[in-house]
């Protein structure tokens, strides 16, 4: 029998100085992942290096396979997951795109693959900095997509991702968007939950009737014609529709077991209670935005920020209810969608679509900023906010505005 003191020690969180990538590697260890495949590309490669180190040091026991390309990398974990292994994989930028065929086949097979996408600008030009277009490329395919802001959130969301993806009601792959550099390469103090707590939070992956095994003879992925495809797509749609409920349950358990509160799982609201205008975005841009908001609030400007976490499933009703409270919404895209409505970014048009069904529709101003890893600065945020106040007082700002661009 463990003494009370021993139990306390076992349940105590440890604080460590680690990067977002290391945090995800630590989550892999805590989740006791069975199969991990790797293929180097910056910034994702930092995760594979940390995992390799954990394995080499004997701290972690898993099949660690370095594939010969990203395509095989994602195919291998797909198959491993089909036989019942918990898997982890990841990539960045054009590496993720090289795996694209494997990415498209995964959701239909209902494979709960967890992938880290170290967000990186798509070539060309070859650049390491963050853009979200890599991960966003799978937005229509049945992948769940979540963006994180801090190393702590990266660790927590990785654990949440297995819990949600491996839930029999969902069984969909989940990609975690991690901004290159700002998250992957900065070390900050992170609370590492005790193994016992993780065990309580994260049950073993049980593929049940879908397990590919000689004791459970099944065929996976036969060719199908027009008699079948639509129904298969509808099954995926139904799984995605069930995901929000499972996400809520998982966050509630995370709070109960780890004692860390994220509130609404789908997005974070910052200084929105009395805000007249809000900015809306994903990932690590929240830091300069929050700093700018604190400064502007001191000057009496009622500005808030909504940071979207879960892009898929998109929290439509919640977004409607929240964003209709404001006089104007500025969506900051760290991505682009050339030729799209208003020539705006992906996020801005998602928000416009969601708001179209709302009774009160505030003007949405589209911004593009921070491409290729450029900083979104405090003055940038001030500039965007000034435009939002103009939109709130009736000026029509329907173009998409590139902020921080060298003219």
């Amino acid at each position: 029998m463990a003494t009370v003191r021993e139990r306390e020690v076992a349940l105590a969180d440890k604080e460590e100085l680690i990067s977002g990538s290391e945090a995800i590697a630590v989550a892999c260890k805590l989740a006791d992942v069975d199969v991990i495949t790797a293929y180097p590309i910056r910034p994702y490669d930092t995760v594979m290096q940390y995992v390799a180190k954990l394995v080499a040091n004997g701290e972690m026991d898993c099949e660690y396979i370095v594939a010969e390309s990203e395509h095989s990398q994602f195919e291998i974990v797909k198959h491993a997951s089909a036989v019942g292994a918990r898997v982890f994989v990841g990539s960045s930028g054009v590496g993720w795109m090289y795996a694209f065929e494997a990415l498209t086949v995964t959701p239909a097979l209902r494979i709960p693959m967890v992938a880290m996408v170290g967000n990186r600008a798509l070539d060309d030009p070859g650049a390491f900095g963050v853009e979200h277009n890599d991960a966003l490329a799978v937005r229509d395919l049945g992948w769940m997509l979540v963006w994180v802001d801090t190393a702590q959130e990266a660790l927590d969301v990785a654990l949440l991702a297995w819990r949600i993806a491996e839930d029999r009601r969902v069984f969909l792959p989940c990609a975690i968007g991690c901004d290159g550099a700002f998250l992957t390469h900065s070390q900050s103090l992170v609370k590492i939950p005790a193994q016992e707590k993780v065990n309580e939070f994260l049950p073993r992956y049980n593929r049940g009737d879908l397990t590919l095994h000689p004791d459970n003879p099944i065929t996976v992925a036969p060719q199908a014609n027009e008699d079948w495809v639509m129904e298969i797509r509808k099954q995926n749609d139904a799984a995605m529709r069930r995901a929000p409920g499972v996400i809520r349950e998982a966050y509630a358990d995370l709070e109960r077991i780890f004692g860390r509160r994220y509130g609404n799982p789908f997005f974070e609201e910052y200084e929105t209670d009395d805000a007249e205008v809000v900015l809306f975005g994903m990932g690590t841009m929240s830091m300069p935005v929050k700093v700018a908001i604190r400064k502007m609030r001191k000057e009496g400007k009622k500005v808030g920020f909504v940071r979207l976490r879960w892009f898929r499933p998109f929290p439509t009703e919640l977004i409607q209810a929240t964003l209709s409270r404001f006089q104007a919404v500025g969506v900051v895209d760290r991505d682009y969608s050339f030729g799209s409505p208003y020539f705006s970014g992906v996020l801005a048009n998602e928000v416009r679509t969601a708001l179209y069904g709302a009774e009160r529709r505030p003007p949405v101003v589209g911004f593009i900023s921070g491409l290729g890893g450029r900083e979104v600065t405090v003055p940038n945020v001030r500039g965007m906010t000034d435009m939002l106040f103009r939109a709130a007082s009736g000026e029509r700002l329907t173009d998409t505005y590139w902020i921080g661009l060298r003219e």
Binding site: A181, Q187, L189, P288, V291, A292, R406, E407
Partner: protein
């Protein structure tokens, strides 16, 4: 502490990457011991896997999370309280992989900021390299050769903790020695390392540098073009052809000097440079053929002159030259400009011969590619024996050697 503090660690790519990380981590861990918070990161635009490339790590220390966010809202700090340079040749300025011209080593320092350099040189030698600044700052020397600690088989030489101890002394409001010691014991579990930090704290050598002291050269700079001025299709116009050069002796026009990129020169990657003896050169062309950066100008008299603005100091020319002592790599700190050696030789052949003899006498001292891998105490002894160190001779043979070698056994 009522504000945040920023520290940059400037290092040589790949060789000192782990060392730089240890220093910035150590700073944050020590701050955490005093209830502060912090973040440690590398400048992402750098490509620190390239040999010798100047790269940076940063540590931001703040009293609380909110103040930390405030300082972090700029990814690379525009101002720092402390600059650490773990290789004295970096004092000539750094040109990162991300282009911005040549950045003086002290450019980001706040007024009254601290510049900490690991070096065997004296203050006066460092001032020949370090650019002037229009506000005063403090320069501290941590005695030692450029450390490779943490790289592959290189042993720990305590450079990391000696720098932590030095910073604790210079900026006590950011970090106390107690906190540094506690963090060292926790992170490295090594009492000797803790003692090295303490000794470094006790022995800080520093001077306040008045405005205007240092190298008066204006570093090259340029502004980036706007999107409408840039060629479309991710295209770069190639550099124009070069041309023949005039022989200063005979006035004949001949040879070939290629034109070079005015925006990215690369010489700040260099920790050693080739010294060419034109009297013994047999004009075999090997250096010219093999130089990976096409640095060699072909002179009208058929010789090969390494253009110092472009040379990254890789040492290939020395390796391929078939003549003994005809191309010799020499520590970059021995030089104060990028002048043409061939022009020097043309102007005064006897003087040049003496100059070459003087420069290469300590061969093969190198600031990367040590002969005595991992054995710093041996290296320092060897260097002291041939009189390489221009100052602090007694320190080299005495206390500091013990300190530097404490972890090397």
């Amino acid at each position: 502490m009522d504000r945040s503090y920023a520290v940059e660690i400037v290092y040589r790519g790949i060789f000192q990457k782990t060392l730089a990380k240890h220093i910035s981590r150590g700073l944050v861990l020590a701050a955490a011991k005093e209830g502060k918070t912090g973040i440690s990161f590398g400048r992402y635009g750098d490509s620190p896997e390239r040999n010798g490339i100047p790269a940076k790590n940063f540590a931001i220390i703040a009293p609380d999370e909110e103040t930390l966010e405030e300082s972090m809202s700029q990814y690379e700090p525009k101002r720092v309280d402390v600059t650490v340079s773990v290789d004295d040749t970096l004092c000539k300025g750094v040109e990162s992989w991300a282009w911005y011209g040549l950045q003086p080593i002290n450019r980001l320092l706040n007024p009254g900021g601290k510049l900490v350099v690991t070096s065997m040189l004296g203050f006066d030698d460092l001032f020949k390299m370090i650019h002037t600044k229009d506000v005063p700052y403090e320069l501290a020397i941590v005695r030692g050769i450029p450390s490779f600690s943490g790289l592959w088989v290189y042993k720990d030489d305590h450079t990391d903790v000696r720098i932590l101890g030095t910073i604790a002394r210079l900026v006590p409001e950011m970090l106390s020695l107690k906190a540094v010691e506690a963090a060292i014991l926790e992170e490295w579990k090594d009492e000797l390392k803790m003692l090295s930090a303490r000794k470094a704290y006790e022995r800080v050598e520093s001077v306040v540098v008045p405005p205007g002291e240092g190298n008066a050269e204006t570093p090259y700079e340029f502004t980036l073009p706007g999107w409408k001025e840039m060629p479309e299709g991710v295209t770069i116009q190639s550099i124009q052809m070069g041309g023949a050069i005039v022989d200063p002796e005979t006035g004949t026009l001949g040879g070939y000097r290629p034109a070079v990129n005015p925006y990215f020169k690369k010489f700040s990657t260099r920790t050693m440079r080739p010294v060419v003896d034109f009297d013994t050169c047999i004009k075999c062309t090997l250096c010219w053929l093999q130089c990976p950066d096409s640095c060699f100008d072909v002179t009208p008299d058929g010789l090969y002159d390494a253009r110092m603005e472009s040379c990254c100091g890789c040492g290939v020319c020395e390796a391929v030259c078939p003549v003994d002592n005809c191309v010799v790599m020499v520590n970059e700190a021995e030089f104060t400009d990028n002048a043409s050696q061939w022009e020097m030789w043309k102007a005064d052949k006897a003087g040049y011969k003496a100059w070459v003899a003087e420069k290469i006498q300590h061969r093969p001292e190198r600031s990367h590619g040590f002969r005595l891998r991992g054995l710093y105490q041996e290296q320092i002894k060897a260097m002291a024996a041939v009189g390489i160190t221009k100052s602090g001779e007694e320190k080299v043979g005495g206390e500091d050697t013990t300190e530097a070698s404490a972890g090397g056994s």
